[in-house]
């Protein structure tokens, strides 16, 4: 389904989604981030990429698996599967959209993660094509995406100045559009061409090249034992910002949080974790297979550009550029890949 939505009708559409939780980018604390929208008037789609990615909607920072307590000496477990309201997120950039199917794979393969899917099933992603890459660090095209990729999105909007071109991609997306039927206009002659033009222009913007994507896995494999990694990670501080903000990083920790040691009450909780932290792989014995920052940088890059490719035939990176822009010490995955490939 393809429609036209006048700029000022956008709010109407949002308001018509009133039985959903609607999120859209908001600029606060000097960053863009997704925030709950109470009314259509709050929406502002002039955003660059949000600092947090959409993965937070399906993989929250803290997920309670179940509560436990002791009743008559026997543990009683109460699962806390989430049952969220349908959630619609506006302004999802295509790179984030592309992250979703990759996460889906992870939370689906071999064992199905019910917590992830309880949220995922209720989530509709309304994408917004990038008319202009928002940062010099964007490289979506270099990893097989594009500024108007539809992969993972339910709807793709394209900004045509005074109006949006809105394309329903999935059933969920079309449904969301149906709900706001009255706000939309039909696509007229020439709109399509204009969309093409906008897309062409944004694609023609130079992006950081990755060279031959297909050759990267082999390059990484060859360099597994290379001192390059340590050298490139020399200034890494192991903060993990790169992974926490990445739309495709999904690693987590599971811990028991005790509420009362006397009654044995508590919760088993999943929290974000990532491969840049030293305790991520450290055994209780103190042995750590990835003890230094170099091996951890290698893991991050290898996971995204080698292992994931080996397992799932695609990169676990969508070129959003967050890890580059937000790294406090300038560690640049594109530059890293470049060096490894040399």
């Amino acid at each position: 389904m393809e429609k036209i939505l006048n700029q000022e009708k956008l709010r109407e559409w949002v308001d018509m989604l009133d039985d959903c939780e609607v999120y859209a980018p908001a600029f606060a604390d000097s960053v863009w981030n997704f925030a709950r929208i109470e009314a259509g008037t709050d929406i502002d789609l002039s955003h660059t990429n949000t600092i947090g990615s959409v993965k937070e909607f399906v993989f929250p920072q803290r997920e309670v698996f179940f509560r436990f307590e002791k009743k008559d000496g026997v543990p009683v477990l109460t699962p806390t599967l989430p049952d969220p309201k349908p959630t619609v997120v506006f302004g999802v950039r295509p790179c984030d959209g592309r992250g979703m199917p990759r996460n889906d794979t992870v939370f689906n393969k071999e064992f199905v993660d019910p917590y992830y899917w309880a949220r995922r099933d209720k989530l509709t992603l309304i994408g917004l094509a990038c008319n202009l890459p928002h940062s010099p660090n964007c490289f979506c095209q270099s990893v097989g995406g594009s500024p108007h990729s539809e992969d993972g999105l339910d709807v793709l909007m394209t900004d045509l100045g005074d109006r949006f071109h809105v394309k329903g991609i999935t059933v969920k997306g079309v449904e969301a559009m149906e709900r706001g039927r009255d706000a939309f206009d039909a696509v007229r002659d020439g709109d399509q061409a204009e969309v093409e033009k906008v897309h062409d222009t944004s694609r023609s913007f130079p992006q950081r090249p990755l060279g031959n994507l297909d050759a990267i896995p082999e390059a990484i494999r060859e360099n597994f034992d290379s001192p390059l990694w340590a050298d490139m990670a020399q200034h890494c501080i192991g903060c993990g910002i790169c992974t926490f903000l990445c739309p495709t990083c999904h690693c987590f920790d599971i811990n028991d949080e005790v509420i009362s040691p006397t009654t044995g009450e508590g919760e088993r909780v999943r929290t974000w974790d990532n491969c840049q932290f030293p305790d991520f792989t450290m055994h209780t014995s103190g042995h750590n297979p990835r003890a230094d920052l170099g091996s951890r940088l290698r893991q991050r890059v290898s996971h995204k550009f080698l292992y994931f490719v080996e397992n799932h035939k695609t990169q676990q990176c969508t070129g959003c550029g967050r890890c580059i822009t937000e790294c406090p010490v300038g560690i640049d995955i594109v530059a890293v890949l470049e060096r490894v490939s040399q």
Partner: protein, 346 residues
């Protein structure tokens, strides 16, 4: 004006004479318009060194890192390290010396005076550009900082006041006091802003208002711990808020690991993040030298510096204590004066 050639020559010379094994400095990077840290070991690399208001990092962190590495190394290389240091960075070295983290002779401090400026605050820049990325940030002399935005290469000048980091605007010691050489003019204090003014402003709010602010911030914290990772004073082998035993030696028993205290959980929610941040703040009382790194690196822009300066202010006003000023002095919390405030006690 600091002449970067002088820094390069000095660094090259240190390396040439073998007085240091490496020099920590800044160079242009690929990731952004800001400079990135570099460690040079070859004389030739000295030419890549840069110095301007985009040199944000406090490189002292890498002195700490080096010490940790050498301590773990089979064949430690304990030769001195050269480091390019601003006023605040040199105070960090001061605290580390005060805490015996390394010795004075282990480091050659290549001091650079921030003169009349300081460093750019990426958050202010981001606010100005509403999230868009700057592709070029250069020093525009007395007028301020020249900025051009990605995708639109026209250059605008932003007045220094509006874009320099708050700490630079408040700085009263922009010349590294602890140094082996200083480049640039000795312009110490400048008249931009009153010290501690943000903390004072926050104090004037009601408790409920203050909580509303901090609840908002603690709630947003990702618990990525970048703030801790970047802090040169958070060099502890194992942080008290972690529940993992990082230091495992032959003598570490299972009990010890099992009984590792969990002062707070890893969960990123207000209460646990509050414990983390309050712990860190109190641990930095009298140790934080206001390099602003924690605040800078925070991906979600939590105003961490505000917490630290609050205690910095108390230390200064109540106990006449300034971190990193006197390396012989006993630290803030392990000393006292008879006239310390008493009135809050019943």
């Amino acid at each position: 004006m600091v002449n970067v050639e002088e820094i390069r020559d000095y660094a090259a010379n240190l390396l040439k004479k073998g007085e240091v094994k490496s020099v920590l400095g800044f160079r242009r990077g690929s990731a952004s318009a800001f400079a990135e840290p570099c460690t040079i070991t070859d004389v030739g690399e000295a030419t890549s060194l840069v110095w301007d208001p985009t040199c944000l990092n406090n490189l002292t962190l890498y002195l700490v890192k080096d010490r940790k590495q050498q301590a773990a190394a089979k064949n430690p290389d304990n030769r001195p390290v050269g480091i390019v240091a601003k006023g605040c960075d040199s105070r960090a070295i001061g605290v580390l010396l005060q805490e015996n983290y390394f010795k004075r002779e282990d480091v050659v401090v290549i001091g650079v005076s921030c003169e009349g400026t300081g460093v750019v605050d990426p958050r202010k820049l981001s606010a100005k550009l509403k999230g868009r990325t700057a592709s070029r940030v250069t020093f525009g002399g007395a007028d301020g900082i020249n900025v051009s935005v990605y995708g639109d290469e026209t250059e605008t000048v932003i007045p220094a006041r509006e874009i320099l980091a708050d700490r630079c605007l408040e700085c009263r010691a922009a010349v590294p006091a602890l140094n082996d050489v200083v480049f640039g003019e000795a312009v110490g204090a400048r008249e931009f802003d009153e010290p501690f003014h943000a903390a004072k402003e926050a104090e004037s709010l009601s408790a409920d208002e203050r909580w509303a602010t901090w609840e908002h911030h603690f709630d947003r914290c990702l618990r990525c711990f970048a703030c801790r990772a970047v802090c040169p004073m958070c060099y502890c082998p194992e942080c008290v808020v972690d529940s993992t035993t990082f230091v495992v030696t032959l003598g570490t028993s299972a009990e010890e690991k099992a009984n590792r205290i969990r002062w707070c959980e890893r969960s990123a929610n207000t209460s646990e993040s509050a414990v983390y941040h309050l712990t860190r703040t109190i641990h930095l009382a009298g140790r934080c030298i206001d390099c602003g790194e924690c605040e800078r690196v925070c991906p979600v822009n939590i105003p961490l510096r505000l917490l630290n300066t609050k205690l910095e202010k108390e230390a200064f006003e109540m106990f006449e204590y300034q971190a990193g000023h006197d390396i012989e002095q006993a630290s803030l919390l392990s000393s006292f004066r008879d006239e310390d405030p008493n009135s809050f006690i019943r």
